[in-house]
């Protein structure tokens, strides 16, 4: 592509694309199904937790936050559910973002209007993020309301701040998966292929990655300690941590752990699977917790931006014709 001096506002048409896509998402049957799925499972997890809390009304100063992290068999904790379901919703929103325009033969007509090509992509991306925000906010408010009514205690300011941060992290996490889905919607002309590819990546990171990483580490950095006693060396643990942090699921799990569990003092060798395990020690103040997870949060946002940039480059080079 030749470098071009842009004339006119680069944002021309953005609001038109954004509003149309948002209306499409909010009115679509697909979105309604996904929303009900998340809503029902989320509520089930929270209500189960509340019942337990009432039975043994603990003296936990952060009782409200425990709503999000408490797991009562056989239900997983609310955050674990989200870590699983948010990617599915995001993929559901994005997997046919661009290829459906090709399939419907609307792309040429839309791009012949006075807008830049990236505005179409950006409008679709942000409309997806807005839809995620709306659904997650609704869910979050519901959990909050259930907590207020059923627990009968009001959250402290600190708890509210932490819960709000958790909401932001969940949105950033969703944005990453939305970017993955939109990238595939540009790469593959068939939306079924794009959906499968995105779900494949999701499976890789949510199920295979935690299994693969320790394996890979053993092969990459053999250690005698490990061979003899099955105790991993520090070097191995370091690599394992770095590798697992390549997964957005790890970033989400770690940051949520630290934010919702004020007792978390470090995110060294703690894994999201240990989310339930309370770490002994005095709780950190909110600012300290935020500082702790800052790299994770920026990591999630940076991943979303990088994926979007890659999508932009691919889309810009594509022919308008199907």
């Amino acid at each position: 592509m030749t470098r071009r001096q842009r004339e006119g506002s680069p944002w021309t048409g953005f609001s038109a694309v954004f509003l149309k896509e948002l209306a499409d998402h909010l009115g679509s049957a697909r979105m309604r199904v996904l929303e009900w799925l998340v809503l029902l499972t989320g509520i089930a997890a929270v209500v189960a937790a509340i019942q337990d809390f009432r039975a043994n009304s603990g003296q936990d100063p952060f009782l409200f936050l425990r709503l999000f992290t408490y797991a009562k068999d056989p239900l997983p904790a609310f955050v674990s559910l989200l870590s699983f379901l948010v990617p599915i919703v995001a993929i559901g929103l994005g997997f046919d973002a661009v290829n459906s325009e090709f399939a419907r033969r609307t792309l040429g007509r839309v791009l012949a209007q006075p807008i830049y090509r990236d505005v179409l992509l950006f409008g679709k991306f942000l409309a997806g993020v807005a839809t995620l925000t709306i659904s997650l906010l609704a869910l979050w408010l519901l959990v909050f309301g259930l907590g207020l009514v059923l627990l009968g205690v009001a959250p402290s300011t600190e708890e509210a701040l932490r819960a709000l941060t958790f909401l932001v992290i969940a949105i950033a996490y969703g944005a990453v998966w939305l970017a993955v889905a939109i990238l595939f919607s540009v790469l593959f002309r068939s939306s079924a292929t794009a959906a499968l590819a995105a779900l494949g990546v999701w499976l890789l990171f949510s199920i295979l990655w935690p299994i693969l990483v320790p394996f890979a580490v053993r092969i990459l950095v053999p250690s005698e300690l490990d061979l003899a006693f099955g105790i991993p060396s520090m070097e191995q643990l370091g690599l394992q941590l770095s590798l697992s942090r390549l997964s957005p699921n790890t970033l989400f799990g770690e940051s949520v752990l630290a934010v919702l569990n004020p007792g978390t003092r470090a995110l060294g060798l703690v894994f999201p699977s240990q989310l339930r395990g309370a770490i002994p020690g005095a709780p950190l103040p909110f600012e300290q917790s935020l500082l702790l997870v800052w790299p994770q949060i920026t990591g999630l946002i940076a991943t979303a931006i990088l994926l979007f940039a890659a999508t932009y480059v691919v889309f810009q080079r594509q022919e308008v014709r199907a």
Binding site: M1, T2, R4, Q5, E7, G8, T12, G13, S15, A16, V17, L19, K20, R104, R105, T106, G108, R109, V110, L111, A112, Q113, P114, I115, Y116, E319, V320, R321
Partner: protein
Amino acid sequence: MMTPDLVIEAKSLTKRYPGGKVAVDRLDLGIGRGEIFGLLGPNGAGKTTTILMLLGLTDVSEGTVRVAGFDPAREPLAVKRRVGYLPDAVGFYDGMTAFENLAYSARLMGLDRKDSRERIAAALTRVRLSGSADARVATFSRGMRQRLGLADILLKRPEVAILDEPTSALDPQSTHELLQMIREMKADGMTILLSSHLLDRVQSVCDRVALFNRGRIALIGSVPELARSVLGGGYAIEIEAAGEGVVETLSSIQGVRRVTREGGHLYRAECDVDCRSAAAAALVGRGVSLLRLAVREPSLDAIYTHYFEGAKDDKAAA
């Protein structure tokens, strides 16, 4: 340098796809204001590619283009604001109504709500779809979709309308309606570039045509001009006349090149201009009884087959 009355101007325009395929090869083209220009050629000739370059929707490999005074590669928005485009096999959002589809286009154009409402109503009336404004596009026939595509263009009130294969897959009635609407657009002062692989379909609306094959223009001009240069004679007149010396009389008329007797009372004269009245006067003056006199428009089909016989093997791509 730009010629001021040319709305579309291409100089040595070339498109090379990655992989080396040259889809458009040093094309020179000038289309004047208010013209209906036909880009005619078989499938794979490079018509769509040319159109996409005019709109700035695909990169130009070499050469220069100006549309409505702007370079589509440098100032795409300026061009797109002035040019309406009907893509080949145009598509709409099926779940939305005709009105909603046009309203989306109007918002992309930056029209305000009131203005867009008025323009949409006017455009739908023009293409005789006002009765279906609130019907979902999924229920539309092919002909209605094409007309909605024209409405999409009318909405913009463009200087130039570029229509890619507007009549393809339409039945004769729909084709006729669509061509009539294209004529009305011209009457409004729009410049129109249309492409087609069906020559006889569009020859009646085109002021000028370019015969296009394998990325190159073989011939360019009005239909009678092309007929003259390709087929020799510009007009063919059929005469039915009873009497003596018809051939000699007709041959003596200025502008007539050749007269043949087709058998019985039927004669055929090839001439440079339409010389029916001269022929009638001369024959009647000779005391011949004139039974019938008809002009046969030169057919693009004849020109087409003449020019594109060798193109049959190039049908692979759409």
